[in-house]
Symmetry: D2
Subunit: 489 residues, 4 copies
Amino acid sequence: MTSTHAQGKNIEPLEIDDIMSPGVIDAQISPRGTLEMLSQWEVERLRNIEDSKLYELFRRCALAVLNCDDSTDDASEVYARYADFSIEISQRARGIKLILKNAPACAFVDGVIMNGVRDHLFAVLRDIVFMSGDPYALADRGLTPQTDALGHPTTAASDSRPAANLVFNMLRNARLLRPRAMPKLVVCWGGHSISRDEYLYCKSVGYQLGLRGLDICTGCGPGAMKGPMKGATIGHAKQRNRDGRYIGISEPSIIAAESPNPIVNQLVIMPDIEKRLEAFVRVGHGIIVFPGGVGTLEEILFILGTLMDPANKDLVIPLIFTSGASSKGYFQGIDAFLVQTLGEQVRQYYTIIEDEPKAVAIAMREGMSQVTANRRKGRDAYYYNWTLHIPAEMKRHFKVSHESMSALSLSQQLPASELAINLRRAFSGIVAGNVKDFGVQMIRNHGPFKLQGDAEILAAMDVLLQGFVADGRMKLGGKAYNPCYEIGL
Amino acid sequence: MTSTHAQGKNIEPLEIDDIMSPGVIDAQISPRGTLEMLSQWEVERLRNIEDSKLYELFRRCALAVLNCDDSTDDASEVYARYADFSIEISQRARGIKLILKNAPACAFVDGVIMNGVRDHLFAVLRDIVFMSGDPYALADRGLTPQTDALGHPTTAASDSRPAANLVFNMLRNARLLRPRAMPKLVVCWGGHSISRDEYLYCKSVGYQLGLRGLDICTGCGPGAMKGPMKGATIGHAKQRNRDGRYIGISEPSIIAAESPNPIVNQLVIMPDIEKRLEAFVRVGHGIIVFPGGVGTLEEILFILGTLMDPANKDLVIPLIFTSGASSKGYFQGIDAFLVQTLGEQVRQYYTIIEDEPKAVAIAMREGMSQVTANRRKGRDAYYYNWTLHIPAEMKRHFKVSHESMSALSLSQQLPASELAINLRRAFSGIVAGNVKDFGVQMIRNHGPFKLQGDAEILAAMDVLLQGFVADGRMKLGGKAYNPCYEIGL
Amino acid sequence: MTSTHAQGKNIEPLEIDDIMSPGVIDAQISPRGTLEMLSQWEVERLRNIEDSKLYELFRRCALAVLNCDDSTDDASEVYARYADFSIEISQRARGIKLILKNAPACAFVDGVIMNGVRDHLFAVLRDIVFMSGDPYALADRGLTPQTDALGHPTTAASDSRPAANLVFNMLRNARLLRPRAMPKLVVCWGGHSISRDEYLYCKSVGYQLGLRGLDICTGCGPGAMKGPMKGATIGHAKQRNRDGRYIGISEPSIIAAESPNPIVNQLVIMPDIEKRLEAFVRVGHGIIVFPGGVGTLEEILFILGTLMDPANKDLVIPLIFTSGASSKGYFQGIDAFLVQTLGEQVRQYYTIIEDEPKAVAIAMREGMSQVTANRRKGRDAYYYNWTLHIPAEMKRHFKVSHESMSALSLSQQLPASELAINLRRAFSGIVAGNVKDFGVQMIRNHGPFKLQGDAEILAAMDVLLQGFVADGRMKLGGKAYNPCYEIGL
Amino acid sequence: MTSTHAQGKNIEPLEIDDIMSPGVIDAQISPRGTLEMLSQWEVERLRNIEDSKLYELFRRCALAVLNCDDSTDDASEVYARYADFSIEISQRARGIKLILKNAPACAFVDGVIMNGVRDHLFAVLRDIVFMSGDPYALADRGLTPQTDALGHPTTAASDSRPAANLVFNMLRNARLLRPRAMPKLVVCWGGHSISRDEYLYCKSVGYQLGLRGLDICTGCGPGAMKGPMKGATIGHAKQRNRDGRYIGISEPSIIAAESPNPIVNQLVIMPDIEKRLEAFVRVGHGIIVFPGGVGTLEEILFILGTLMDPANKDLVIPLIFTSGASSKGYFQGIDAFLVQTLGEQVRQYYTIIEDEPKAVAIAMREGMSQVTANRRKGRDAYYYNWTLHIPAEMKRHFKVSHESMSALSLSQQLPASELAINLRRAFSGIVAGNVKDFGVQMIRNHGPFKLQGDAEILAAMDVLLQGFVADGRMKLGGKAYNPCYEIGL
């Protein structure tokens, strides 16, 4: 396995709103709404020098949000380019202000910050402050303070209840949950590095969803995370739907590689990838998957591993895999991989629709009726899927390292549900090695991760991954891709 | 000191909206807004049988809120009358529901709950749930669960920081704080048991405040707590002010004696009287005191003891004592008492205006400009008076008992600020003995509290208290008043 | 028949919001909303010196609206007191402004106009401008310009179609009609000069209506026109109903005697009394009549004469006569008069409910369901009662004069429906003689009107009118009443 | 001069929202808002069989609006394709309904009409009804009823005052005028038949305008009328601007050729092209012209002929001509033509900016500040440019015919301002011959229009027109263009 040049498809070109404004800007930013209100203690906690890890976390997320027009997915490059960037919190009569120094100019229009970006900045602040008061939120990030917000000694808990609690609490605190609303939130997954044609297809599906009153939730980066939102914006405008929701769910270690698009009108930063994935499936009412790379595979394995759990047998979650004419066959490949590894029965959980945006939207709208009936029958809330049972191991944070990666058991002896969990971890590790700052550094220092397991599984993975490399799905920018993994065939 | 018949003034008669509907009703209630969203764990915590004290707290507050048209201030009578009342929380697809059994019929119009009362019910739920997740909130109520919301062992903290944090957190959670708004919230204090003429005077002042765009915050019971809100409602209507705020701040042990009027459009239940008093002075921008009884004195001493603290010397808080023609001289008596006990310098903190509703409103409006300038200069928030220093002892919860009452040092040897703290406690104890359920039972079982101290102070208190008794300010209903205290002259 | 002193009942005293501020004020007033936009030609038309009658009409209505706290019902007194008052229209970048000189100070709070009054001023402007463009609107007022808004020669039309068109057009132009809303508008009629107890009863009924989500429409003066609105304001506040409607429908010759209360949040000035009465019955969904004087009788005869028309036999209009304990028997007297003059069958059109605010409100709410069903069945709009047939003679403007009054045929030979029309005219004339400026001057110059007809009818009228005089229902102020009519018994 | 094939540029391809749904649909449509309320007489007037011209006008405009996804600009083709289409008005309890038969399916999503189209339908109804009540509105369309809405005999007036009145009255009736708003409405003119690159350039300019809070007003068809709105929609979304305005101003004879895009959120149908052009310059605060064909020239001549009038010398109206890289030189050609015909001084009224979307937007934003100052200084309204003097001949409706076209004096002897008027008429006639139903039929029956005049002027026109033909700017669809005119060189 050697380095390969991305080939084939032309990568999605910059659109009118992607023109990069070079340079940096200093500015003072007030929140627009009335949401972001901090107590003196919360401000102090963030400012606290000893707690510098927490501040750095905030600074990096803020930078990612400001760097909204960037076309790189290399977090360390972003951090390096804006090494001088600083952000400070100041208390004023009408509320707090953020004092920015050397912020990326692309977030500003004629020197004034875009309202979309401003909202994202305060969303980041809100979520970091919230995490900082919850010992479970930061434990796995090595950021646990000695005492929590209330001064208790913080001892990491081992059961999953508080963690689930945390997902709910963070989403509620972010006002993402809306009790009265009927099911209509569609989670769209797919690659950040896709071709122009694939991008237009995502947009087209988003447009059809928007015409039908459906809202969009994505990981809020470029590519398949942006297209559906743009399409839905036009669909909503034609339907005079002023309350269209474009929800972005990110996490600190990915946000710099996938800067939220300013169209996103509700942004949440979850503490880690597992809680981010849980958030998607708790608030979404249906899921559409577009072509993507390893991150997309991680998402697919998360939802399939969960749906295969017997506890979820009565649950309805519409799951559609769809691609445009230009990527015909992509999901045949995915389908083959899933059947090879998880068995034939996995097919009952998803539908593949090729090159039919309208059919996808109609199927999803009908899925929503079924979800509504299912939730009512199960006395479950529309706004949060309490009933869904996510296996504890699926939720547990997987700490990526060379050791943990090579220790993963990828054996056909395992029950399908356990194998799904380990496969997800494997792909999660490759995402980290590709684009997350800490992962990229691990690879730079210690070489590629080594994956081991049954030959058949490894072969299936190899086929899949080589395809991703060939299609340029691993990284943005069209540069040669240097794999961060070795498959021990 | 013997029992005395209330005389003189005619007690405020029932108004059109006070007609009591007898009987009870069963009903299922959904929240109107989108605020009240509970996690499964929060619902469980309230339902938990072992935590029955918490549930009972919730049930009693809910009952108080439903009993909105009542004319009694006797909590135990209310609890006894509706002994069968029950309330249950149920999770549904669109959010939670409250299942009521044997609820007071006066909260309903043709079998449908009044929206004002419905909002209050869910405000109670919101606040009790919030307290239940905070060890500091319930510690003093003997309700501390073994572990907190996150499963930590709960050890009562002794410093005041988390408690202040709690006041802020509860108000923020109740969405009472509005960062963008200019200072315009007037706290109105005064008696719940006042004459018709005094009531009309309060209403008239409220009307003039309302015409000038000022909002009202009171303890949300009858009398001086209701009058200003009703007047302001008409003033706001004439000014087409649809966003008028009528904020009620209560606490579990007083709410049954002072059921919130349904006009109150934001209700908060603070854990105890000290946090309730702190909440008033943190969110209010100015204070008007109308004639009242011991509770009113407690309030006056709380704010004066605080303002006299040297740390607050640069702070601006407009404080006006005002009464109508029919109560002329009332504040002369209060003034005399304050000077006798706290010294001449206390006078610099308040202004007395007699029988001039318009003058009161104009003075308050001008005070608001000064508050605005003062906050801006001090970089303090408009929405929360961070800078105000409340002495730690003033904030500390005073546990009323025969022992604690007779142990109070009421000596002129004490610095004025310390004496103010103890005097407040003394009056707080008398309030409890008059109308709070646990206090009334203490008196029934063990006789009146005994107060001791310097003769001069005790004499001043005696004059004041006898005046209150004579004016019928101690209790509603015009029945003979049986003092719950003895002054050890 | 001689002059009599008003006796008996104590006249409704001034309330907190009726405190008169003496003096006058100069001010420039901008509209608050976006409604009031005039073309240059419309402004010119009003400014036009030759068209001074139109300007004077505007000036007088504006003065009436500004004189919002007045306790007189004597229009000429009001005009005399503010003889210096002037109002001018000025075009500005952001819209028009009104320049006031010597305006009554009572409309202002600390020098700033009350928003309620401001809205009324611009409502007056809107309606006068609209009338000025419609030849039918002003024809009967002797104000017909030579050419209409479009430059056509204006020839008074004789058929009633354009007039009805005019009622609809004016109400639509005033945005009073709301297509989506369900039937819930209750017209309240009754005296402007009533006792305190009667006032409180009106308020109490209004409160019960407000609690049930019903809106109020009145003639927008004092007494029975104000009470229901105040009560409903409190009822709506308790139900968190921020969209409560308090509609006032007036006309130029009565407005000075019955200044709109600033609570009125939609004001319309119809061209004359007949169109005002038509407006009430077209937009209202039910009618409640409280005790009153001759104006109230005029209203009763208008609706009964209309309902008795065979064309309306399938129509549902709930009509309730109600009075409080203090006026027990009042409606027995009215009932007797109606049966004597219009016959027994008139009773089927109304219900009398005594001293039961809640029962009145419940009956009205049930009436609304019937109206809803009836309109749907008849394919009639909820927002405008197209189907109601108002007899042409009932709609035709009755020009009050000594000649027209004595020419009225009040004979039992006439069919009941025709007699109702003439009786209404007779009472209409007495209203004019009592409080309308032109009528008061007629009486001053030529003595009382003389009414002639069948002895039995005249006797019945005499009994009724003497009762009104005795009860102080003819005029405000408690002064001796000098009858403006003679009954030719 | 012979027929020529459109060449060169690739015509703007269909976008995701242009996918045509074939077939027809029957449906009943209610209005969404509360605006559209008709009196019985207004409904009757439209239904009236004798007034069939008026109904046909309504039917055709409604059809044009429903045909929202069409890619033809051939009105007669549209009318022929949907010959069976009918529309009826029905009165219901909650308001009126439109009953559609055989309506174009493209206006519907899964059988339900798009809200954007629904709003347009009721806007058409509102405007046709309004015109039908105004004799001036329909006079020139040969639609004048014998009597107007009020029954007056209708005699066409000759002065321009009522016509201007009509423009204002129609815009006010359509609620297009917003008194409080600051100047920010940018009129965008340009071709309906443009290349993909030109379209993207328009969109890019619209995006930059949207980011700066500016609103868009166009003729509401495809091409340069759609691009800026789509771009602004994304710009507004990123700025969280939910009140972005996308105003479309059309007229009955062009609407079928330029169906409004459903993004348009305020649509007005003016009676004819002259009033449409007047509406643009009265409500717009600045104008941007993109490349286009004869219609664009007509627009340019209208504004320049007006600005050159000495009465407007103190007026500020920012006027920018701009084109993208792919159309470089286009405005050099226009500039040359303008200088040749109207003289060098015409250049002072416009600025040419090439290929700089951001610069265009910044210049326009700065222009807005100047407009604001200019209006304030001139005491002119922001919402309607009263001060602008449009020469009477420019406003007068030009009735296109072979006679009127060949009678046009195109002589350099004429003052520039008169020549501008006649040139505008010449281009207006060519637009009619190209795409308006009546014009196309004239040409079909009688051959091309013949234009005569000074050789130099005609030569300049010839160069320009041949360029338009070569660039495919005359007609959509890429078919051979058959000129509707002959230039008598």
